[in-house]
């Protein structure tokens, strides 16, 4: 694995970071932030890429072990299948931090993630409020096999059912594929002319969705009665720009920078033998104990809107807010 020998020189601790994939904007931001923070923290870095394949992740971890790393950060997209790998690392006393996902079984030192259920919840509150509790919305889901996607779907559906019962939700599985998303959205817009909102569970569908709306003549300003409200998810720079330009209405900013920063921070702490307890952290988030032996630092994932208003009790940031990572990149 590649070594970024950072500041610390010969004495720097070697940690391994496995990137889950390199073909999405969000994870690429993570990939860009990781070496930056490693440098800041004085860690020496070994990296691998498991290309969204848990079997590959298991193999990569073997490599880390062979390379004698002192800690491993990973983002297993399959949260059940990672158990044997975790057990192996445990046996070797190598601490693990998982990013973005929480393993179904097995112990890790810390889970660094934002609450994916909260993403769905926030999107629902925003759309429900904007639609005035009626009409219908299309939800462009990810892959059925993705735990994060499922969390967002379930939370969105549950929230709609409870808070906005007269809003109809058409959920479409898209395998995280832009062309599939555009195809299904187009079909839904034809079949259900009353669709007034779209929730994209990831920014992969961003440009395609706008194109479909444009083709259908639905890309009207927010005040126009034809306007379709679009909520995206991720917080990449393009989304922030589109919010500012009035093309989409909101997004949930996943903290790619904080994922990278705190994954490495907790690894360093683990190596140094620090122990954490549930409760508020020094960086404005909460550590919660999700089950015995499993702590989770729930980083905040702010809702971003054009006006920075409050929707269904959820506060939002404006798209130009300087605390958003998407405003510091590219």
């Amino acid at each position: 694995a590649s070594t970024t020998s950072a500041g610390g020189g010969a004495g720097a601790q070697v940690v391994g970071v496995d990137y889950p994939r390199s073909d999405t904007d969000f994870w690429n931001s993570y990939i860009q932030y990781t070496p930056q923070y490693a440098k800041q923290l004085g860690l020496s870095l070994k990296t691998t890429n498991s290309q969204n394949d848990v079997a590959k992740l298991a193999a990569n971890v073997q490599t880390f072990v062979a390379e004698d790393v002192k800690g491993v950060a990973m983002a297993p997209q399959d949260t059940a299948a990672i158990a044997p790998t975790l057990a192996q690392l445990n046996a070797k006393k190598i601490p693990v931090v998982t990013v973005d996902t929480r393993p179904d079984t097995g112990d890790v030192y810390m889970v660094v993630r934002a609450d994916n259920r909260a993403y769905g919840q926030k999107a629902c509150e925003f759309l429900g409020t904007k639609l005035g509790g009626k009409g219908s919305v299309v939800m462009l889901e990810g892959d059925l096999a993705s735990i994060n996607g499922r969390d967002r779907t379930e939370a969105f559906n549950a929230c709609m059912k409870q808070n906005f019962p007269s809003v109809t939700v058409y959920g479409e599985a898209t395998n995280w594929d832009a062309a599939t998303a555009a195809q299904k959205l187009q079909t839904d817009l034809t079949a259900h002319p009353d669709v007034k909102g779209v929730y994209m569970q990831s920014s992969f569908a961003l440009a395609g969705t706008l194109q479909v709306l444009q083709q259908k003549g639905l890309l009207a300003g927010p005040k126009d009665p034809k306007h379709v409200f679009v909520v995206s998810n991720d917080g990449i720079p393009e989304e922030l720009k589109d919010i500012a330009a009035g093309k989409i209405d909101a997004t949930v900013s996943q903290p790619a920078d904080l994922y990278a920063k705190y994954a490495l921070y907790y690894l360093q702490s683990a190596i140094a033998g620090k122990v954490f307890k549930p409760g508020p952290t020094d960086h404005g988030s909460q550590i919660v104990q999700v089950r015995p032996g499993l702590l989770e630092d729930q980083l905040s994932a702010p809702l971003v809107t054009a006006d920075g208003g409050t929707y269904g009790g959820i506060t939002s940031l404006t798209s130009t807010d300087s605390s958003l990572w998407g405003n510091h990149l590219g």
């Binding site: 073909d23 860009q32 555009a182 079909t187 440009a207 194109q211 393009e238 720009k241």
Partner: protein
């Protein structure tokens, strides 16, 4: 494989009753082309029952539009399969060709591009990349005699990797207007990409059925030695086919990028599977020399109609896959019954 087979079973009774045969024969040839039509009709009826939106012009145009890029790929692969080659790398060209164009033309800053070239260059660059990829494939396969499956598999991985490399895995946005044209414009109220797809298929039908060049593709796929003996410049034809396929894949990528107003680094990934499925279901043989453009078109149409009906039907997400597969299998059995040995 050399030499002709199929001899022992036919009894040599040479006096064929000349009257009725030609009619029957043309009918059979036509039937083979039309093998999927019954399946398509059944799907249409089911679709209409499931949701009356199905047969509305809007919806049908949607289907044609969404399938147009994939259909162009199917067209390209059909040409390649008929000459008994394979090109797996088409799916990567779909991403790489517009990807390189975007990389070179999108202004630095906003959309990760380099902004080295003015926007007007985007389309020529896209097509040039397709051409180059096709030529590299042809060089390896025809000139150096390497196995087509392996070469294009290698190319698939290389090209996909190149796109991930130049884009750092990110999506190119803010494409120049010229790249958006094909994906966004309407001609006579119908999206340009639908026109292009239909025109290309019409051209394909004419070329394959009614020109010497087209017939030489079948001859090469059927028996390349015999084709050579008949004076066909087989290497030249093969080069033309491979390069054309690359070019068509680039065009398909251009249309897709235009429609999605972006080039994702995963654009095209996994498409080749559907492309092969459509071609083979449409009657194109992996052993070369068989199948028609029209058949290939019905193949991809069938697959997209099924998708559309499933979406309109609101099938629970987790059962869509199983249903999709089951319907495809049933459609194949239907076409097997109606169209004779069409699938062999």
């Amino acid at each position: 494989m050399s030499e002709t087979t199929e001899t022992t079973t036919t009894t040599t009774v040479p006096s064929a009753p000349a009257g009725a045969r030609p009619v029957r024969r043309i009918a059979v040839a036509r039937l083979r082309d039309l093998a999927l039509i019954p399946a398509i009709v059944v799907i249409a009826i089911v679709g209409q029952l499931v949701n009356p939106v199905f047969l509305q012009t809007d919806n049908l145009v949607n289907v044609l539009q969404t399938m147009s890029e994939m259909a162009v790929l199917v067209l390209a692969e059909t040409l390649v399969l008929i000459v008994k080659k394979m090109d797996l790398s088409l799916e990567s060209t779909v991403g790489l060709a517009p990807g390189i164009a975007a990389w070179l033309t999108v202004p630095a800053g906003a959309g990760h591009g380099l902004g080295l070239l003015p926007g007007a260059w985007a389309v020529p660059v896209t097509l040039a990349v397709g051409l180059v990829v096709g030529a590299v494939n042809a060089l390896f396969i025809i000139r150096f005699g390497l196995n087509g499956f392996i070469v294009t598999l290698g190319m698939l991985i290389v090209l996909r990797g190149l796109l991930t490399g130049i884009s750092s895995g990110q999506t190119f946005f803010n494409l120049p207007g010229s790249m958006l044209y094909l994906g966004t414009t309407e001609w006579l109220g119908v999206p340009a990409s639908v026109w292009i797809c239909l025109l290309l298929f019409a051209a394909g039908i004419v070329v394959l059925g009614f020109t010497s060049f087209g017939r030489s593709l079948y001859a090469i796929g059927g028996n390349i030695d015999a084709a050579k003996a008949a004076g066909i410049r087989t290497d030249r034809v093969l080069w033309t086919v491979m390069v054309t396929a690359g070019l068509l894949a680039a065009l398909s990528g251009l249309m897709l990028s235009g429609r999605l107003a972006s080039v994702a680094s995963a654009q095209g990934n996994g498409d080749i599977f559907t492309v092969f499925a459509a071609a083979v279901i449409g009657g194109i043989s992996l052993n070369g020399g068989k199948g028609s453009m029209f058949g290939a078109f019905t193949g991809i149409l069938l697959l997209f109609l099924i998708q559309n009906v499933l979406t309109l039907g609101g099938v629970p997400a987790q059962w869509i896959g199983a249903l999709n597969g089951a319907i495809i299998l049933v459609a194949l059995v239907i076409s097997r019954i109606t169209g004779g040995k069409a699938q062999d």
